[in-house]
């Protein structure tokens, strides 16, 4: 066990965990930030996506001891009032079905828009390739990302 001071959603959080603990479980089990989802545990589904210094990152393979003082953003911290352009577009397009993958989709899209504010369809498809939606909401996700990019 070791103590880590983490910068999450603009706040300092202290956790005492095994250094090999993935950020996914630090967030979910130790900090009650359960918006970041568990889907595969091996970086294949994107459900666990967070931003690390603005970069979309799979938290299931990001060990807590690798984070240092980097800025972590989770779905809970993407905006204060749930009104990030992506969140608004997601509501407007009524994207979710079961909804389980959607926080990961939104966080991955946020990483994409940070790097590329107006992505083409192909760029969206490429960037979102690692995020599975088992319910098949891909066409709506694309629409929502484009709407957010244009807003």
């Amino acid at each position: 066990m070791a103590v880590f001071n983490l910068n999450i959603n603009g706040k300092q959080h202290e956790v005492d965990v095994d250094p090999s603990t993935p950020m996914l479980w630090v967030l979910r089990d130790h900090l009650d930030l359960v918006g970041t989802k568990f889907g595969c545990g091996i970086a294949q589904c994107g459900a666990c996506t967070i931003l690390v210094n603005g970069l979309a990152t799979r938290s299931c393979i990001t060990f807590v001891d690798s984070v240092g003082d980097k800025e972590i953003t989770t779905i809970e911290g993407l905006s204060e009032n749930g009104d990030h352009p992506l969140q608004k577009a997601w509501i407007e397009e009524d994207v979710p079905q079961c909804g389980y993958c959607q926080s990961g989709q939104i966080m991955n899209a946020a990483g994409l828009l940070n790097a590329n504010p107006s992505p083409s369809d192909e760029e969206i498809e490429m960037a979102m390739h690692g995020n599975i939606c088992r319910c098949g909401t891909y066409t709506r996700i694309k629409k929502a990302i484009k709407a957010a990019a244009n807003s």
């Binding site: 091996i42 079961c98 319910c135 098949g136």
Partner: protein, 738 residues
């Protein structure tokens, strides 16, 4: 105006649930404001709630809470079921809050997510609940204003009496209405007077989903809760022999390691129970990561199961290669006749042309994005469970029997489900969680890893079908023969189209036993039938030199005007209706030049769907440019959500036909995570999907499953146009990962 007998009485009052009200819940809130576009802050909480019946309560300020009785699995019933109540109540949707109902069979019927039946079977009860409450509010106002009840009208949550000019909000009359006797009969609205049904309303959980609020079983947390995982046999046909937990127990954060039995020895299994792995090793600890690590340190010995069990499940470790051989053998040797019209043998003997094709499909894992999990807190005299289940009622029975508690001492709460597709009909994980909680005497959340989830599946069966068609010299279809089976059961629906449209028809089925657990998977049986049959009909139409839509329409015309046999379980006119609509909307007759398009139509779960798929060739790779869908599911309750469901089914159908399959080696699934098991991803989805609904006033039928099967057939037929190849074996893309 329709008048219906009410079935609500005082017993129908909401049972206040220990979980919903108590201190156990830390983070969960079951309430969701219905209106997501206006600021939800508009909806203030009332000082007092009045229960008018089990489905709804009205606040003194006019706010309304409507219970959503059925499990929410992504089919959006948590929005559409309350919409039905709200419409009959005649309330403005923005005053509505939705609450997931607890399992309560005194009030609610069929609290189950399966068979695309929630709306179809809920329709009358939901309307009645809203109409009953509206009637009671009108009676309360009539009494207060001393005027006849028939003179009281309502609009958007306000009661009016035109003669006296009086008016009052529902909130003002709610307390008086709650005192009244429930009327024995109520009037339902005319369909033309619906104000909410038929209008698009956004997902009531949308704001919580996009902000990451706790909603799902996996998000559930309670005071003092510990985490558990299970280790199950690595292969079907094996069981626990012994285990050494010394190392695992010594791992940090581990509380206990022990073996559990899912069922008591004398327990009589019901359909939603699973019997493949009934003895497991449970690891319990303080946090998920610690438990995952300890699980790796388990030393477990497994052994082959020696005897067939009482249910006739065979012993042995099975292999995919044998599976296909066994199905071929069974097809040839042990097929049983299910329907016969005319003289099919004679028709085939006299045929000018006979077309014969074989189709196969593999086992598939459901893979909902949220892995199996459940919360259980079992005390000596009471058990509380919460989590994702499609069959809370059935599983409550199993849990009660296993724990030796009376049914009323077991409480099941339904969380939102991260998908299910049939997987969560089989709730062995609920029993496992309960047994573990009982043993460790603490609230437990049981979590499956993705590997656990995929290798302890209740898989879509593997299927095999032989189709034969006989054409006469004028290219008329004079004989049709289908022989269809699977492991462990046949997907055949002997009385579905084209039965009823061909004079000489033979349908046969066969089955092969297995010890691999299988069960319902989105549109059971139909998810294979539609692909095989609709690809086959495409080839038959081609051999007959006919347009594939016209060919089907001609058969349906026959089935409508002069049907063969009497048990045809589809409505030929509605079937033809979706084909005609998709023909028109896709410009099939006018706009097909230069396009690689395929068509298919299918009927299942009481609804009709037709698709046209357009494929373009991009650098030698087929790209799905556009999919058209025409859907007849009766009255559409929530149109945009229905479009979403149809789009999702189309993506899902394409994905499973193209990429997904599970293979076995020595009883062991060869894929156990998404690096090995391929699911459709963003770039592989159609670039565009256009959905149309046939407008009619037929009571609504299902939509969770019907749009899933036919697109696979339309896809196969479009691929043929694009590259000249027919696709007989799923998945169409071989060795797609590795």
């Amino acid at each position: 105006m329709t008048t219906v007998k009410t079935k609500l009485d005082r017993r129908s009052f909401i049972r206040s649930s220990a979980l919903a009200g108590g201190g156990l819940l830390l983070t969960f809130s079951w309430l969701a404001p219905a209106c997501t576009t206006d600021s939800p802050k508009q909806l203030t909480m009332p000082d007092e709630w009045y229960e008018l019946n089990g489905f709804l309560k009205i606040g003194n300020n006019g706010a309304v809470t409507i219970m959503s009785p059925n499990p929410e699995i992504g089919q959006n019933v948590k929005t559409s079921m309350p919409m039905i109540v709200a419409d009959e109540l005649d309330i403005d949707w923005k005053f509505v809050m939705v609450e997931q109902a607890p399992l309560n069979t005194d009030i609610f019927t069929r609290q189950l997510a399966g068979g695309s039946q929630s709306i179809r079977q809920g329709w009358n009860g939901l309307r009645m609940a809203g109409a009953t409450a509206r009637r009671m509010l009108r009676e309360a106002a009539a009494h207060e204003w001393k005027v006849p009840v028939d003179e009281i009208t309502t609009e958007a949550g306000v009661l009016y009496h035109t003669g006296s000019g009086k008016e009052a909000g529902y909130g003002e009359m709610a307390s008086a209405a709650a005192e009244l006797t429930v009327p024995e009969e109520v009037e339902l609205k005319d369909i033309k007077d619906f104000t909410i049904i038929g209008t698009s309303r956004k997902n009531v959980d949308g704001p919580k989903i996009v902000t990451g609020k706790p909603l799902f079983g996996l998000d559930y947390k309670a005071e003092g809760m510990v985490i558990a995982m299970i280790e199950h046999p690595p292969a079907f046909g094996m069981k626990l022999k012994s285990f050494d937990a010394t190392e695992a127990k010594a791992m940090p954060g581990i509380i206990d390691v022990f073996a559990i039995k899912t069922y008591n020895d004398d327990y009589e299994w019901q359909w939603s129970d699973v019997t493949s792995f009934t003895e497991l090793v449970a690891v319990v600890g303080k946090s998920t990561w610690e438990v995952m690590n300890a699980k790796l340190m388990l030393n477990v010995e497994w052994e082959p199961i020696a005897d067939d069990n009482a249910q006739g499940v065979p012993v042995g470790k099975e292999n995919t290669t044998d599976h296909y051989k066994k199905m071929e053998e069974a097809a040839a040797n042990s097929s049983r006749e299910r329907r016969r019209d005319g003289n099919p043998e004679e028709a085939f003997k006299n045929a000018a042309k006979v077309i014969e094709r074989t189709y196969t499909a593999p086992f598939q894992a459901h893979n909902p994005m949220e892995p199996m999990n459940f919360f259980a807190d079992v005390k000596d005299d009471f058990a509380q469970l919460a989590g994702p289940t499609q069959t809370p009622e059935f599983m409550e029975n199993t849990v009660a029997a296993r724990l030796g508690l009376p049914l009323e001492k077991v409480d099941v709460q339904m969380t939102r489900m991260g998908g299910g597709f049939g997987r969560r009909l089989y709730g062995h994980f609920m029993v496992e969680a309960a047994v573990i909680s009982q043993k460790v005497k603490a609230p437990v959340k049981l979590i499956y890893s993705r590997e656990d989830d995929m290798s302890y599946g209740i898989y879509r069966p593997a299927y095999h079908a032989l189709y034969r068609a006989a054409l006469d010299a004028d290219n008329n279809l004079i004989g049709f023969h289908v022989r269809m089976g699977g492991i462990p059961d046949s997907p055949l629906h002997a009385n579905r189209f084209p039965a009823g449209s061909v004079d000489n028809y033979l349908a046969e089925s066969f089955s092969v036993d297995t010890n691999i657990s299988t069960g319902a998977f989105r549109a059971p049986g139909s998810n294979f039938n539609a692909v095989a049959e609709q690809s086959f009909l495409d080839e038959v139409a081609e051999a007959a030199g006919k347009d594939p839509i016209q060919f089907r329409l001609d058969l349906l015309k026959r089935a409508q005007e002069n049907p063969v046999g009497s048990n045809n379980d589809y409505d030929a006119a509605r079937y033809a209706g979706v084909l005609e609509q998709v023909r028109e909307k896709s410009g099939w007759d006018t706009n097909s030049e230069g396009k690689s398009r395929g068509v298919a139509a299918y009927f299942c779960h009481n609804s009709y769907v037709a698709n046209v798929v357009d494929i373009a060739n991009k650098d030698g790779e087929p790209v799905i440019e556009k999919v058209y869908a025409s859907v007849d599911c009766g009255i559409v309750v929530n149109p945009d959500a229905a479009v979403n469901m149809t789009e999702g089914s189309i993506v899902d159908g394409i994905g499973h036909a193209m990429y997904s399959g599970l293979t076995f080696s020595e009883g062991q699934p060869e894929q156990n995570n998404f690096d090995m098991y391929r699911l459709i991803r963003h770039g592989e989805a159609p670039k565009e999907i256009e959905v149309h609904f046939v407008e009619n006033n037929i009571d609504p039928t299902g939509l969770g499953e019907p749009p899933y099967p036919p697109v696979m057939g339309a896809l196969a037929n479009a691929l043929y146009k694009a590259n000249g190849e027919r696709y007989y074996h799923q998945p169409f893309v071989k060795n797609s990962i590795g």
